[in-house]
């Protein structure tokens, strides 16, 4: 049944299984340290594969424009998000700034899931996309903080700067990308069983846990999530996707590349940005941004967004 397999990719089905098990309150649980390990694995593998591909294929003329577009998208997408959160949704200034930062930044697993679908369909993308992923992680944090606090005063403590620029995800993604690039074809081949062959299985395992986590967050939030916020969590990714799609087409990326840039713009951070916001904006309500990102936008992107974005990108 190859068609069913493309409509319903195995990793996505594991995400659905996790959400279902969580919703039914099954005691299925993935140990926390394993989930953290799998997320590190995904970043290493994404970085290594991208770096090696870049070393083999070369950058081409679209790399710099795409990096620039990614950084701009990350810096600017929090602005409309903030306006929507202050106006229609009605959040306080600090929480609105914190939430907005999440939507400029990106989700590694959403990217990974999209890559998985592309590779199952045999569609290739520009090799530098993992670098774009890394580049988009943190600029949004700057915008979010400026929105929350205004430009006056010391926006960035040294502790915060470290949190932002030396965030574990960024360091591992960029580091692995560089290592993959240094290693080139020879290292790529040696590491293929780890980075490529294990990939689908690890993704399934991790998405199972993400489904369980999304359910858990939803339950913990309880009645605490007003409909306007849920609407934001679904509409904002669509808005981001439109911007990412536009940029990708303007730059002239391949369909796979356009798809990935669209997915990145649509996705919201759930590791790097929450950690930075907790440190920088303690008054912001962590319950709101964690729940919105993990339990609304992430499932939406995995279940409905990715197929849509790939279709729009013609990938």
């Amino acid at each position: 049944m190859p068609d069913l397999n493309i409509l319903l990719p195995t990793p996505v089905l594991f995400f659905a299984l996790g959400m279902l098990a969580g919703a039914l309150r099954s005691d299925l649980a993935v140990p926390d340290s394993l989930a953290k390990g799998l997320s590190l694995y995904l970043m290493m593998a994404i970085g290594l594969k991208g770096g090696a591909a870049l070393a083999i294929a070369g950058a081409g003329g679209t790399m710099l424009p795409t990096l620039a577009a990614g950084i701009l998208l990350s810096l600017l997408l929090p602005l409309p998000a903030y306006l929507a959160l202050r106006g229609p949704v009605g959040l306080d200034r600090t929480t609105a700034g914190a939430v907005a930062a999440h939507y400029g930044s990106v989700s590694v697993v959403t990217f990974a899931a999209a890559q998985g679908v592309l590779s199952a369909r045999g569609v290739s993308a520009e090799p530098f996309m993992p670098a774009v992923l890394a580049a988009m992680e943190t600029p949004a944090i700057v915008t979010g903080l400026l929105l929350a606090r205004g430009a006056g005063g010391a926006v960035f403590s040294s502790r915060l700067l470290r949190e932002v620029f030396l965030n574990g995800s960024v360091v591992l993604l960029l580091g692995s990308f560089l290592i993959g690039w240094i290693g080139g074809a020879a290292a790529a081949q040696q590491l293929a069983p780890f980075t490529t062959q294990l990939w689908q299985g690890a993704l399934c395992f991790f998405l199972l846990e993400m489904g369980l986590m999304a359910s858990r967050q939803l339950r913990a939030a309880g009645r605490g999530l007003p409909p306007a916020l849920i609407a934001f969590g679904v509409l904002m990714p669509l808005f981001g996707a439109a911007c990412g799609l536009g940029c990708g087409l303007l730059i002239g990326l391949s369909p796979g590349g356009v798809a990935l840039l669209t997915v990145l713009s649509a996705s919201a951070s759930y590791i790097a940005v929450p950690a930075a916001m907790r440190m920088a904006l303690p008054e912001a309500d962590a319950g709101i941004y964690v729940t919105l990102s993990v339990a609304v936008t992430f499932p939406f992107n995995i279940l409905a967004g990715i197929p849509l974005y790939l279709w729009l990108a013609g990938a």
Binding site: D32, K36, M213, A220, P274, A275, R278, P282, V290
Partner: protein, 103 residues
């Protein structure tokens, strides 16, 4: 009790992301030591917090510091820095310790 000294146990439940700030504060206020324990989950004014999400922002820890009156007074004096508007609780209990000179 023979050979024991009266001291105070300060026990603080605080977000893991802020734990280092708290132990640095204790060091600064003259505490001779502290011990940090993991927390699985907790409920308070801000609702349920369950440890183990990927960003770590829901993780709590428990910090135990055994100290004399002077340090306890200093910690109480620094309550704003310690608590601010952040989720955290502080409790203080009398205790007797062995090797009192170490606290």
């Amino acid at each position: 009790m023979m050979d024991t000294t009266r001291r105070k146990r300060i026990e603080i439940v605080v977000e893991a992301v802020r734990a280092e700030q708290v132990t640095e504060l204790l060091d600064r206020l003259g505490a001779k030591g502290w011990t940090m324990l993991p927390v699985l989950s907790g409920r308070g004014r801000r609702g349920l917090r369950r440890s183990g999400d990927l960003s770590g922002v829901q993780d709590n820890v428990l910090i135990l510091c055994i100290a004399g009156e002077a340090v306890v007074e200093a910690v109480l004096g620094a309550r704003e820095e310690l608590l601010g508007a952040r989720p955290a609780i502080v409790s203080i209990t009398d205790c007797d310790v062995l090797r009192g000179e170490h606290f």
